[in-house]
């Protein structure tokens, strides 16, 4: 034991509110993994910690704002993007990241999502997609695959889900990627990359929700869903697939396409500046 290396301090200690642990997330949940990628990206960014701001909405993913030791704003359901918009425009020196879930961003906040992408607002959005409303107990939402079960879809979801990368590309985002909770390096790399890329960035990360989604859909636990991601993820570079076919169907043995779908340089939104005489 005398040779044991005892870490006095974890490298991410300064970024996590340790006094708020334990967190609320269920065993097998993917949100914490993705928050860790965000924390690592902040550390690696070289941008002073006080210049990083995190804004969240409501839901399990929305709790990220409460655990990150940053200036952090836990707003109303669906509204983190417009809140972040006002904050960023007043202080453009800040790196503003919106961390929220698919229900918050694509259901109740869907209108704000598409308009911020249209404006190409210089904010970074990490969208944790667990295919359901997890915090309220597993209801179907706009990303629930057709046929999947939820507490409000007891006979299987009759609706078609959003194909989020396709939507965001059409709206005008500068950067769009999709990964899963097993792609921790890619998630960290993309978050780090978009910190220094002006314009609207949207990173969708598929994540297990064993209690809310898995239980209703025959997925035993978080590990099984991670296994599913590992087996089925196909990098977009290795696939000949159109944007329209990026939808996710977890029922059959269909591929889950991941990778960077958009990386372009449209001018981000800038408030009008008048030339002074």
């Amino acid at each position: 034991m005398s040779n044991a290396i005892v870490a006095e301090k974890h490298p991410l200690d300064d970024l996590i509110r340790a006094d708020r642990m334990p967190h609320i997330w269920c065993p097998g949940c993917g949100v914490g993994i993705i928050m860790r990628c965000y924390a690592q990206a902040i550390l690696d960014s070289g941008i002073p910690i006080e210049k990083h701001i995190v804004v969240s909405g409501i839901g399990c993913s929305g709790r990220v704002a409460g655990y990150m030791k940053l200036d952090s704003y836990h707003t109303t359901h669906g509204r983190p993007i417009p809140f972040a918009t006002g904050l960023k425009l007043v202080n453009p020196a800040l790196t503003v990241t919106v961390f929220s879930g698919d229900g918050d961003l694509a259901a109740i906040g869907g209108n704000h999502l598409i308009h911020a992408a249209r404006r190409n607002m210089d904010i970074k959005v990490v969208c944790i997609n667990n295919f359901n409303f997890g915090m309220t107990g597993g209801q179907a939402g706009p990303t629930t695959p057709q046929g999947a079960y939820g507490t409000t879809a007891p006979y299987g979801n009759p609706e078609l889900p959003f194909n989020l990368p396709y939507l965001l590309k059409a709206c005008g985002a500068n950067f769009v990627s999709r990964w899963t909770a097993i792609h921790v390096r890619q998630v960290r790399d993309d978050i780090l990359y978009v910190f220094s890329k002006p314009g609207f960035a949207f990173i969708e990360v598929l994540a297990p929700c064993p209690i809310g989604f898995g239980k209703s859909n025959g997925i035993e636990d978080g590990l099984e869903e991670m296994e599913m991601y590992r087996e089925r993820s196909v990098h977009i570079q290795d696939a000949n697939v159109s944007d329209e076919d990026l939808s996710i169907d977890l029922r059959g043995d269909y591929p889950i396409y991941v990778g960077r779908f958009v990386d372009r340089d449209r001018a981000p939104f800038m408030p009008i500046k008048l030339e002074k005489p």
Partner: protein, 383 residues
């Protein structure tokens, strides 16, 4: 040619434009809004003017986004504003509550039109008074001021910003279509004569131990750290403790909600403004606000000419409700009349406070209440 933020001088000015100029004179440098009659001219004016003073104008996708954006702007340190009318105010109720809970100062202008629903988009109303007070869910308190002229569209916009910042609470300017679209003389004072209130900032230099909701002062207002200042604050709409951390207990909830309510009540004397006209020897008091106060004043003058001892109490602050002055008057006068362009929203408050039966002069909106029905009511109660 770009103009300065404060257009000192005498102007013949549109009420909505005067509100916009008041915002600029108050140091507002961020406006987010969505077009809606009869407030649109405020957005149009600021779209032109804010870039002249290096401010930010953004037209949002809806009113939900507009108020979220101005709260975010406030969190980053700006004086921020939006402008709307009844249907938009309904959408803003959600984040008005967030502003109360996070204690982020901002100004919401409501140029009232005939309501409910789409109602009378181009015609006046005064029926959002109770919505301003109770429209968001839960017990809370906000501030509301009611201008009766383009001059007050300017003056009270500045007052709304100052009070919002001083007490860390959203403030509403409850204007109406008549004063919003009226063109009248507006005097803008020199910049050095406009008093602006500073937000209370953290006094301790130790960022690690700063608690964003620790209250040390009798005014119950905690200091406000802005985004990017290094305090690592957490603000949440969940019930929170002094650290800003969620705390799902009845004790913390009761303490927080009570303080947010008490904060406004305790400072009511500072927030409440009103104007009395011929009240000294009055036996009858007409209570009115906004454009209706113009007709009420005319009716009081006519009645005085006939020897009736009547006066006018013009409410400038509507919320918190001016209880003290009404209680004082209740001990001295015989009768109250309330004239307002709704079916009795402030009348109920006057009845509650004075314990007098109150004669109402009401109209659901669509046209300004003229002096005649108010004069008739004065004659009737004077009998």
């Amino acid at each position: 040619m770009t103009r300065s933020a404060v257009l000192t001088g005498k102007h013949f000015m549109h009420g909505d434009h005067a509100c916009a100029e008041g915002a600029l004179a108050a140091g507002c440098r961020f406006f987010a809004g969505y077009p809606i009659t009869p407030s649109t001219e405020i957005a149009e004016h600021l779209a032109r003017r804010l870039p002249e003073v290096d401010g930010v104008f953004i037209q949002m996708e809806d009113e939900l986004a507009s108020i979220a954006a101005i709260l975010g702007a406030s969190a980053a340190g700006a004086r921020s504003m939006t402008a709307t009318s009844g249907p938009g105010l309904s959408l803003m109720m959600e984040n008005l509550g967030l502003g109360v809970m996070l204690e982020l100062p901002t100004v919401v202008v409501d140029v009232m039109r005939g309501s409910p629903s789409t109602g009378l988009p181009t015609l006046p109303g005064q029926s959002d008074v109770m919505q301003a007070r109770w429209g968001s869910h839960g017990d809370f308190a906000v501030l509301a001021f009611s201008p009766w002229s383009p001059q007050e569209m300017f003056d009270l916009t500045i007052l709304a910003f100052n009070m919002a910042d001083k007490y860390r609470v959203p403030a509403l300017l409850l204007a109406d279509e008549v004063v919003g679209h009226m063109v009248e003389k507006v005097v803008i004072p020199p910049e050095d004569q406009i008093t602006l209130t500073e937000r209370k900032k953290p006094r301790q230099s130790n960022h690690e131990t700063f608690k964003p909701y620790q209250v040390d002062d009798p005014d119950l207002v905690p200091p406000l750290a802005h985004a990017g200042e290094g305090y690592h604050i957490h603000l949440t709409g969940l019930t929170h403790d002094e650290r800003g951390y969620p705390d799902m207990t009845a004790d913390t909830h009761n303490r927080l909600v009570t303080r947010l309510f008490e904060k406004v009540q305790r400072n009511a004397d500072d927030i409440i403004k009103y104007e009395g006209y011929k009240l000294d020897d009055a036996r009858i008091v007409v209570v009115a606000y906004g454009c209706t106060a113009r007709s009420a004043r005319s009716a009081v003058m006519q009645a005085r000419a006939q020897g009736i001892p009547v006066g006018l109490l013009r409410l400038i602050t509507i919320w918190p409700f001016p209880e003290k002055i009404l209680q004082e008057l209740a001990g001295k006068v015989d009768k109250f009349i309330v004239a307002e362009m709704n079916l009795g929203q402030v009348r109920l408050e006057v009845e509650r406070v004075t314990h007098h039966p109150v004669r109402g002069v009401h109209h659901a909106g669509g046209e300004m209440i003229p002096p005649a029905p108010i004069f008739d009511a004065i004659k009737e109660v004077a009998k």
